[in-house]
């Protein structure tokens, strides 16, 4: 966003000097479709901030290879630029918490969003938590599979070892476990990341190897496209149901045409929008919400509610 004009860069308390606050948002990689919707929400909220003379600056790591330390550094970057408030995801608490505590100890309000949950927000002394919970989202997906009658679900993880993707797969396993099924993880090595054909063929191989698998869930939309292709090539369209975390047009199209069971939407637009507006309202006018945490998801998009989701997607917010 080009919203951080230099006008807001006063070192002293921006609010008291009559100008709006400088809000810094730490977010995910900019080319990640999911984060582009969070950012869209933040950008929309920024319009309000700007109208009050403030600014919203978006900070994102260039890649996820060193996520925790990188995020911690971004938080420090925000503070060193005189942030009046920080919005950040607590992806790797052990790595980031020290930096978040610097924010709080510097008497600047902090909002945790997207990852970490309310526990993290409370222990850090943050205002609130906005977002969904990976485990809850996974569990919702697992339950959906279970109710649909699937017994053995494969969770494809193209970023094995990352805390959030691991939590998603674990949630799926928990959710389906409570409904009489089971789930295993398929971790794919980094040499396949971003190559849909290699991902698709690996999924196909796993499906062919274990014919008891009747559900596949992926951690992101790109992988879902690959998984759809794998199911098709394996000739398993009747037998294997597909679900995914996150949402985009292609998923909506497949859900509409019945080739995909569901997508788990954490409604990222709201995370960015709510987190920024709530922080702004607090800094400006001391408004605090009583409800903690504010969960933005999960919302399961299936053929029952796909049409409304399509409309939101056309607007670039879903």
């Amino acid at each position: 966003s080009s919203s951080s004009d230099k006008t807001a860069n006063g070192d002293t308390k921006a609010a008291s000097s009559g100008k709006g606050p400088a809000i810094f948002v730490v977010g995910g990689k900019a080319d990640d479709p999911f984060w582009s919707r969070v950012k869209r929400g933040a950008d929309d909220a920024a319009k309000v901030v700007k109208s009050g003379g403030g600014s919203v600056t978006w900070l994102a790591p260039k890649n996820y290879d060193n996520l925790g330390p990188d995020a911690a550094k971004l938080i420090q970057t925000a503070m060193s630029q005189g942030a009046d408030g920080v919005v950040g995801p607590d992806w790797v608490p052990e790595a980031e918490d020290a930096a978040f505590k610097q924010v709080v100890s510097g008497k600047k309000p902090l909002v945790i969003y997207n990852a970490g949950g309310i526990d993290a927000a409370n222990s850090l002394g943050a205002l609130n938590y906005f977002g969904s919970d990976e485990a809850t989202a996974g569990k919702a997906g697992g339950e959906f599979f279970g109710k649909d009658g699937e017994k053995n679900v494969l969770c494809v993880n193209t970023l094995p070892g990352a805390a959030n993707t691991e939590a998603r797969c674990k949630g799926i396993a928990d959710g389906i476990g409570e409904n009489g099924g089971k789930s295993s993880q398929l971790p794919l090595p980094s040499s396949k990341f971003g190559d849909p054909t290699a991902v698709a063929q690996a999924i196909k191989a796993a499906l062919l190897k274990d014919s008891s698998i009747d559900g596949v869930v992926t951690i992101g939309t790109g992988d879902a496209n690959a998984a759809a292709s794998a199911i098709e090539q394996g000739g398993l369209a009747d037998k294997v149901k597909l679900g995914t975390f996150d949402l985009d047009d292609t998923q909506l199209g497949r859900i509409q045409s019945g080739k995909q069971l569901f997508a788990i939407d954490q409604q990222p637009y709201m995370q960015g929008y709510l987190a920024v507006s709530a922080l702004y309202a607090y800094i400006q006018w001391g408004i605090e919400l009583p409800q903690k945490p504010i969960l933005t998801g999960p919302a399961i998009i299936s053929k029952d509610n796909v049409e409304t989701a399509v409309a939101g997607s056309k607007a670039g917010v879903r």
Binding site: K29, A30, D31, D32, P33, S36, R37, R40, P160, Q185, L186, P187, L188, P189, S190, S191, K192, F193, G194, D195, P196, T197, A198, A200, Q201, A202, K204, A205, A206, L208, K209, D210, T221, G222, N225, A226, S229, E232, Q233, G234, G235, D248, D249, T250, G253, G316
Partner: protein
Amino acid sequence: MTVQATQQAVSKGGGRSRRTDAPATLSNLIRRPESGSLIATIAIFIFFAIFGGAKFTAQSGTATWLNPAAELGIIAIPVGLLMIAGELDLSVGSVLAASSMTLAIVSGHWGQPIIVGIVVALGLGLVTGFLNGLIVTRTQVPSFVVTLATNFGLAGLALGLTRAITGSTSVALTSESWAKHLFGSYVSGKFEVAIFWWIGVIVVVGWILHVSKYGNWIFAVGGDLVSARATGIPTDRVKIALFMGTAFGASLVGVIQTILYNSAQVANGQAFIFNSIIAVVIGGVLLTGGYGSVFGVIFGTLTFAIVGQGIYYTGWNPDWASLFLGVLLLLAVLMNNTFRRMALSYGPRKKKD
């Protein structure tokens, strides 16, 4: 200084040493250094045929490694050519993503005919390759750095423009059916048409490298750039052409993937940077240039694809997939090197006579 003239002069008087080449033709087959990569490929295949079972050797099992091999191969073959000429291209990842995105924006988002999108996407690749080549030859900055910078730059450009234009980072595309057939369909429901594109690239590049005179230029440029320049080879133009080749290959794969998966993602493709270099090096091309063959690269690509996909047929814990990939990679290259050394040290038995 035409060759024709001297060629005549020779055919007049030079029958004496004809025998020197005739027996070599047969023995050449055995001493071909590619035999190393071929044997590595076969060994790896047998390994998985044993541990992967019938599913692996069945048609759809074959498609599992042949499809990724084809896409990788379309990039790896020109990358191999470039490596023989002594240069690296680390920009193929972003070129793939940018071309893919270009096609999706032009024909998906803006709704132009798909042929326009394809031409613009491939054109983008050629322009990037040309710039890479131009910068490398003009500035003498190592290609590793130049193409790395291009990779970053183009990734940033693609991301920024895509978001500015579409507001998203993933753009959908519905292809006309001729394009779907030509680039993104499955033959007998399993094999990507990319395989035929790969074969096409193999034939064209194989001809250039091993049959036409330009192949000799490429080997010479990679073998000793200074001497190659001294013999009058337009070394700069050769390199620029080869950079355009790698970028074109990456664009082509971008087009294929976009049409195949009906969407483009800005983050795709980076895996091809390393994977193509790995395939080429397993295929016996010298990382320092001057030596290699198209056949080697083909087998290197197949080996890499089989190793990368085979483990999912074995039923072993996929947590160990990376470990496995590392160990097999090393073994394949070792096998290959051993055979190549054996092949090169072979010569007709000579006594002191």
